[in-house]
């Protein structure tokens, strides 16, 4: 799509080419960036949900009073979770993309939607990492709060939902941000299964004109703007989660008076 009256000339300088790509190819770059952002946001959110579920499940205590079936069930699923975490952390995402995308194609004779495949791969990969990060977050909460929750009779799920996870998530926000930024950059490897994200788009543009340096200068600027913005937004969310640093005192009550129980 030629938007401007610019016809590429062989004698153009470096900056002229950059200008050409920026002014003429911006819709493609924008679409690519959009796909990158869509995959990384969805992938991080879904991965985070997977991470929460896996970590909370793996923290379910097995009590001596539980029935054999329940104990066996819990232990078996904890084992499966461990396998999941180890496999997806222990192999490169680029290889996972190949195996999952071409694997489903050759075994089930079903060709996945490439965008969906991209989101799927990023999600389960992120889920494996975030499971461990959430586990770390849960373990960062001091044991006393777990004990206090037990003494007032809260169940495992209630304790996690109301007490532990809100604090754990706040504590791991920097790590989640890290994972988000990594995802924005790592969606580029989905180009191996031809997902039209930013890297794939850039490669096509560059390939058309044989101008790699000029194209990827623009691409790197876009990646940086994306990650930098996301980092700032997450920082703001962290601040919001911290809540107000002061509190209001209720008046007209004498704090020193300790009343007798009725």
């Amino acid at each position: 799509m030629i938007l401007l009256d610019m016809v590429p000339q062989a004698e153009w300088t470096f900056w002229k080419w950059v200008e050409f790509f920026a002014l003429d190819k911006w819709p493609e770059f924008l679409t690519g960036a959009g796909v990158t952002l869509l995959i990384s946001i969805t992938g991080t959110i879904v991965g985070f949900i997977i991470g929460l579920l896996v970590a909370v499940f793996c923290k379910i205590p097995v009590k001596a009073t539980d029935s054999f079936v329940k104990t066996a069930f819990i232990k078996f699923f904890k084992f499966l979770m461990q396998v999941y975490i180890e496999v997806f952390r222990g192999t490169p995402m680029i290889v996972q993309a190949m195996v999952i995308y071409y694997g489903t194609a050759s075994i089930f004779h079903y060709s996945m939607n490439r965008l969906f495949a991209g989101i799927f791969i990023v999600s389960i990969n992120t889920g494996a990492y975030l499971s461990e990060i959430v586990r770390g977050g849960i373990e960062s909460i001091d044991k006393g709060q777990f004990e206090a929750a037990h003494t007032i009779g809260l169940r495992h799920g209630q304790m996690m939902r109301h007490i532990v996870l809100p604090q754990a998530i706040r504590n791991i926000m920097p790590a989640i941000g890290n994972e988000f930024v990594i995802n924005i950059k790592d969606t580029s490897i989905l180009s191996v299964i031809s997902v039209t994200e930013l890297f794939f788009t850039s490669k096509s543009i560059a390939g058309t004109y044989y101008k790699y340096f000029e194209t990827f200068i623009i691409t790197s600027i876009i990646y940086f703007v994306l990650t930098f913005t996301v980092t700032r937004i997450l920082r703001a969310i962290e601040k919001k989660m911290d809540g107000p640093s002061s509190y209001t005192m209720l008046e007209n009550q004498d704090a020193a008076v300790i009343k007798e129980l009725d």
């Binding site: 006393g144 004990e147 007032i152 809260l154 209630q158 509190y247 007798e260 129980l261």
Partner: protein
């Protein structure tokens, strides 16, 4: 006073090869205030934590109102709500405000409505003199205030028994008095309480019965006057001499 609420029979607890409790037979009656004293490592806290199963006893039985709470048929969660516990390190929920700390158990476990939970929480926060601070987060108040909120949190569940695990040991000296006053007024109002403490003056004042633990067994128990003024056991005497000398009280 013969209405027994908590009873343990031959209660034992091992941590690995280390035998911390070596067979404890103990009873507490309704309305009774029992203080447990003894040197560090004598098993006081472990014993208290075995009563509401924060520690699983290795062997022996724990009875609550006549029912063995180690039985599979007993609802342990329900029993726990009947036994409020106050910890040395307060253990407030840091993500919740003072008021929410006192409400969460009521709304989640007792299924009370928000308004009812709030009224109950306010009542007990008032009792401990912390109702001004309902909007504060735990990290915005002092240690003594935290402990008073922790007491209000336990009271908000309207338990039958209160367990105190060295409630003043982590406090600055000038804050100890506030917290002890709260516990003292609770004791006088007829609550059943089991208090592990190093505050000998307090134990003497508040308790109906004092239990002296030494190396995992109950070495001696009796009314405070007898334990403090005329202990029969040599180890009790040695412990009291040591601790009261240190405080310059003897």
């Amino acid at each position: 006073m013969n209405d027994i609420i908590i009873e343990t029979k031959n209660l034992k607890k091992n941590f690995g090869k280390n035998e911390v409790l070596k067979g404890i037979d103990f009873t507490a009656s309704r309305g009774e205030v029992v203080c447990i004293i003894g040197a560090s490592g004598s098993g006081k806290s472990t014993f208290l934590r075995c009563l509401n199963l924060l520690e699983m006893p290795t062997s022996g039985d724990v009875f609550y109102e006549g029912a063995n709470i180690l039985d599979k048929s007993t609802d342990q969660y329900k029993t726990r709500t009947k036994m409020g516990m106050v910890f040395q390190q307060f253990n407030l929920f840091n993500n919740l405000t003072v008021l929410q700390n006192c409400m969460i158990g009521q709304t989640s476990v007792l299924k009370r409505s928000t308004t009812e939970a709030e009224d109950t929480a306010m009542k007990y926060l008032d009792t401990v003199g912390m109702s001004q601070f309902v909007n504060a987060k735990p990290n915005q108040i002092s240690g003594g205030q935290k402990q008073r909120v922790a007491i209000a949190r336990a009271l908000s569940m309207e338990p039958d028994v209160l367990l105190f695990d060295e409630p003043t040991s982590a406090l600055d000296p000038e804050m100890v008095g506030d917290v002890l006053n709260v516990i003292f007024s609770l004791a006088k109002s007829g609550f059943t309480m089991i208090v592990v403490t190093h505050e000998m003056d307090f134990a003497r004042e508040v308790s109906d019965r004092v239990v002296f633990m030494d190396e995992g067994v109950i070495a001696e128990e009796g009314p405070p006057e007898v334990i403090f003024n005329n202990p029969k056991n040599d180890r009790t005497r040695a412990f009291l001499t040591r601790i009261l000398n240190k405080n310059g009280l003897l």
